[in-house]
Amino acid sequence: MVDPRTTIISDRLRAITRIIAVSSGKGGVGKSMVATTLALSLARRGCSVGLFDLDFTSPSTHLILGAEKAQPKEDKGIIPPEVKGLIYMSLIYYSRDRAAPLRGADVSNALIELLSVTQWGKLDYMIIDMPPGIGDVVLDLLRLVKRIEFLIVTTPSLLAFETVKKQTMLLKDLKVPVIGVLENMKMNKSEGIERETKRLGLKYLGEIPFDPRVEDAIGDEKKLFRTMIAKKIQEIILTKNIIDN
């Protein structure tokens, strides 16, 4: 018996120019916030952008976007709704506000199902909010989405960066492009993460200062764009020309 779903995945993603997984070794580094803000920033520049939340067991991008009422349509597959200018897909449409206690094999199956039935259409960018670590979703995406690139988020903590090292070693071994490392929630002056990132042979994209206003900006795009996270992400996109094609 053959699972037919994986055959169609490359077709479903064919019209997407760049697929960027926003990833981290550890949880709590602000990955979802970075992924959402990056997606919104690209959309504000006139790009067509999809945001795909693959943190199945702890999804949060729907809260950042204020997308609680959004629902996909069904037409020869699943058509994700447009939320704040983004084509937005999440398991939350189906698990709603309830827990989704999934083991590894279930995570893989849910991921393959969504990749095989979601009709994204033509996009300049797909931004993926990844679960932390190098578990099933990372391994499945590396297997199924050949054009994937990674953007790594860390905090200034060496504990967070230690996991980044392992993650980037894996990606390097597999020859998967890493756009660079973004240092989030920076509170003090230090060059440790920048130095370590360069030592790994990776690009240090910059730092985002810790901004207590971020919490209050959850669900409010206008407030979000007044925070340092949005300012810095736009700066990186605009001036450093790192994400832009």
Binding site: M1, V2, D3, P4, R5, T7, I8, D11, E74, D75, K76, G77, I78, L91, Y93, Y94, S95, R96, R98, A99, A100, P101, L102, R103, D106, V107, N109, A110, E113, L114, S116, V117, Q119
Partner: protein, 132 residues
């Protein structure tokens, strides 16, 4: 018409297998449909018939049903899925992504959501037969 997307996957896979096995004409394709996903058989068959490539002109599609069996990892209880205990919204959510069964179904014996979907999850390409 979520079944349409699944049908596309079946056709693409069947075509791949037919090419690999150098089949000039595909006579029969058998698809196993798991009950957990509650796929509408008529819609799936219609979509398959509409999506046929030329080498599948005379292909007959056969659907076989597989009961969804769930096994609790906490207490070992095994039971058969029934959508009767679910609300229409819950059943529909499982139709789109069968794994959200873990959100809405609990072991009837011990109440745990930690169960294995032993069989009857989604759709499988079971068999393909043709002329070389």
């Amino acid at each position: 018409m979520h079944e349409w997307a699944l049908a596309e996957a079946v056709i693409a896979t069947a075509q791949q297998i037919a090419e690999k096995e150098k089949l000039k004409e595909v006579k029969d394709v058998t698809v196993k449909v798991g009950e957990l996903q509650q796929v509408e058989k008529e819609i799936l068959l219609f979509a398959l018939s509409q999506l046929k490539p030329p080498s599948f002109k005379n292909t007959k599609f056969h659907l076989t049903k597989s009961k969804a069996t769930l096994k609790c990892r906490a207490c070992g209880n095994t039971w058969v899925f029934s959508k009767r205990k679910l609300s229409p919204d819950e059943a529909e959510a499982i139709h789109f992504v069968p794994e959200v069964a873990h959100t809405y179904i609990k072991c009837p014996k011990c109440g745990s959501p930690d169960f294995e979907i032993v069989k009857g999850r989604g759709i499988w390409l079971e068999n393909i037969r043709g002329l070389k």
